[in-house]
């Protein structure tokens, strides 16, 4: 499975350690919150909310350089608009990979 990286963060920080630290801190804070919101919306089967939460998580997926996963998340988001959960297992695998990665940085 594709693995996350900090290439975009490093590029944005351009060698400034404080910027790098801020960006990582925000990802580490915001991702678990968004994931919790996502889990809650899945539990309640609220398609509109699930779609919104997937959309927000998608940005984190792209920031962490997960190009193929981003495409999968995008497809999942579009399926949700049709009230289909096709792609949910793959999407949740991506979230697991990111959660594990964030523990290492």
């Amino acid at each position: 499975m594709e693995q996350p990286n900090l290439d975009y963060v490093e590029q944005l920080a351009n060698g400034e350690e404080s910027i790098r630290a801020t960006l990582i801190e925000v990802i580490k804070t915001e991702f678990p919150e968004e994931r919790k919101d996502y889990d809650e919306s899945v539990k309640n089967k609220e398609f509109k909310k699930i779609e919104e939460n997937v959309h927000r998580l998608k940005h984190k997926i792209s920031i962490l350089g997960l190009e193929k996963s981003y495409k999968m998340a995008n497809d999942f988001e579009h399926n949700l608009r049709e009230h289909s959960t096709e792609g949910i297992e793959d999407f949740e695998k991506i979230l697991l990979v990111i959660s594990a990665f964030l523990k290492t940085i």
């Binding site: 590029q11 960006l23 915001e30 998608k58 940005h59 792209s62």
Partner: protein
């Protein structure tokens, strides 16, 4: 250029601030996690450029654009270019940046904004409310009696099946009529239909939340499609 950032995601705002700080000509004066907060700010402050996320819950970027009275230059930020297409029909949209935003692409967008001139014609509000002639009262037929109702005293009209309930400062009246008929009689400068079942007197609004208004002691839902018009009209108060 004085600019503001509107994005519900903190990460996106931090990234945009980081990018803005790398361009000398940009001065971020404020950032907002919701478009409604930004509208309040823009009623009092002029800005040159807005970085606007299109896809936000409740009140999205397109709702925001439609509610602007004097639109400044706007650069859209989005994860999905499809969302930007509709917005591009507006003349003051300078560019759109696809997330995650690379610095080189950001810089190009800012350069476009620097060269971009908004003509007075382009800066006009998107929709102008059409004023009706204002009469101060009208008569309703209740139990074969014609009763005069003072227009400014009405704060709410509610559809109730084949009837409408007209709520005024002093009394409520139930009249056999439709919301559409009374809407034609009420002046646009005072009244706004905010939901398929409700017309409100905008001067009587006490409080507004994202999806509802408090008017007297009634909490009235606001349809998503009516929110931009409501936000635009509030500035008239």
């Amino acid at each position: 250029m004085n600019c503001i950032i509107i994005d519900d995601e903190k990460m996106a705002r931090v990234i945009l601030k980081t990018l803005c700080n790398q361009v000398k000509s940009l001065n971020i004066i404020e950032e907002f996690s919701s478009a409604i907060q930004a509208i309040k700010f823009l009623n009092e402050t002029t800005v040159d450029l807005i970085f606007l996320d299109i896809h936000m819950p409740d009140f999205n970027g397109l709702d925001f654009i439609r509610s602007l009275k004097s639109p400044p230059k706007i650069i859209l930020t989005t994860s999905d270019p499809k969302f930007a297409i509709e917005a591009f029909e507006y003349d003051f949209i300078v560019d759109y940046l696809l997330k995650p935003i690379e610095f080189s692409r950001f810089e190009k967008g800012v350069q476009k904004a620097e060269k971009f001139i908004i003509t007075p014609e382009q800066a006009k509000p998107i929709e102008k409310p059409i004023e009706k002639d204002i009469d101060n009262d009208f008569y309703v037929n209740i139990d074969r009696r014609l009763i005069k109702i003072d227009l400014p005293s009405i704060y709410l009209v509610e559809a109730k099946g084949d009837y409408i309930k007209i709520k005024t400062e002093d009394k409520d009246y139930t009249v056999h009529s439709t919301l559409k008929k009374i809407e034609e009689k009420l002046p646009d400068s005072l009244f706004l239909k905010i939901h398929r079942s409700y017309i409100i007197n905008i001067k009587k609004i006490i409080d507004i939340e994202d999806n509802s208004v408090l008017i007297k002691r009634d909490v009235i839902p606001v349809s998503r499609s009516k929110r931009p018009e409501l936000m635009k009209r509030l500035d008239l108060l």
